[in-house]
C-alpha cells in the first residue's frame, strides 16, 4: 500500500503497514487484541467491531483497508 508507514504490532511483533488499532500508546493488529481489548473497542464502535470481525476472518492489508472504507461509505 503506497504512502503508508510500517508500524509494529506489540502483540505478534510483526512490522507492516496493515491497518491497526491504537489503544493509547499500544498498537496491535485488529486480530491481535486481547479478548478484553476487543470487547472494549467493539462496545465503543459498531464499525470497529466489524473491522475486528473482518480481520479475524482473514482480511489483511489492502483488503482490510478496502473493507474499512466500504464500511464508512455505508454510514
Amino acid at each position: 500500500m503506497a504512502d503508508r508507514v510500517a508500524t509494529q504490532c506489540e502483540q505478534c511483533g510483526q512490522v507492516d503497514d496493515h491497518p491497526k488499532v491504537h489503544i493509547g500508546l499500544v498498537t496491535k493488529h485488529h486480530d491481535c487484541l486481547s479478548v478484553g481489548e476487543a470487547a472494549m473497542v467493539r462496545e465503543s464502535s459498531d464499525t470497529a467491531g466489524k473491522v475486528i470481525d473482518a480481520c479475524v476472518g482473514g482480511k489483511r492489508g489492502p483488503a482490510l483497508l478496502k473493507h474499512i472504507e466500504s464500511l464508512h461509505k455505508e454510514k
Partner: protein
C-alpha cells in the same frame, strides 16, 4: 487552602459533564453540551490548542460546523458524577478509519457553534503515534481522567 472533596467533585462535573444537551456555566462563561474530544497532530498548551486532524476518512474536524460537530461527542462516555475528586471515562472513545498522520494529543472542548470553547487537554509528552489511513484510534476506559487536588 485545599479544595473540599465535595467542591472538587462539583468542579469535575462541570469540567467533564456526561450530558448530551444543555449547558454548564463556569463563572460568567456558558459551555454547550455535549463536550467533545478532538484528536490533534501537535500538542496543545494552556494558551493554545494543538493542530486538529483535518476532516478526512472517518474523522470530522470540529471547524467544519464551527464546533457543533466534529471529534467524538463524550455524552454517555463519562462517569455521571465525580467521586473522591476524580472522574474518568466509563466508555472507550474511538475513531475508526482514521486519517493518516500523527496522533500527538487530545483536547476536550464544548459544542458552542462557531466559537467552541477549550476545556482541558492532555498535553506533553506527545503520544507521537504514527497513524495510517484506516487505523482505529481508541482511548481506553479509565484513560481519560480528570482530577482536582
Amino acid at each position: 487552602m485545599a479544595k473540599a472533596t465535595s467542591y472538587a467533585n462539583d468542579v469535575l462535573d462541570q469540567t467533564l459533564p456526561n450530558g448530551a444537551s444543555g449547558t454548564v456555566t463556569i463563572g460568567a462563561t456558558t459551555y454547550t453540551l455535549p463536550f467533545r474530544l478532538i484528536f490533534l497532530s501537535t500538542l496543545s498548551t494552556a494558551g493554545s490548542q494543538g493542530t486538529e486532524w483535518a476532516t478526512a476518512a472517518g474523522y470530522v474536524n470540529s471547524g467544519v460546523a464551527g464546533g457543533a460537530t466534529g471529534g467524538v461527542a463524550l455524552n454517555g462516555l463519562l462517569a455521571t458524577a465525580a467521586s473522591a475528586a476524580a472522574k474518568a471515562n466509563t466508555g472507550a472513545v474511538t475513531v475508526t478509519n482514521a486519517p493518516a498522520g500523527t496522533w500527538a494529543d487530545n483536547e476536550v472542548h464544548d459544542s458552542t457553534a462557531t466559537t467552541q470553547k477549550r476545556v482541558v487537554f492532555k498535553g506533553t509528552p506527545s503520544l507521537a503515534k504514527t497513524v495510517n489511513l484506516g487505523d482505529t484510534c481508541t482511548i481506553a476506559i479509565g484513560a481519560l481522567t480528570g482530577s482536582e487536588v
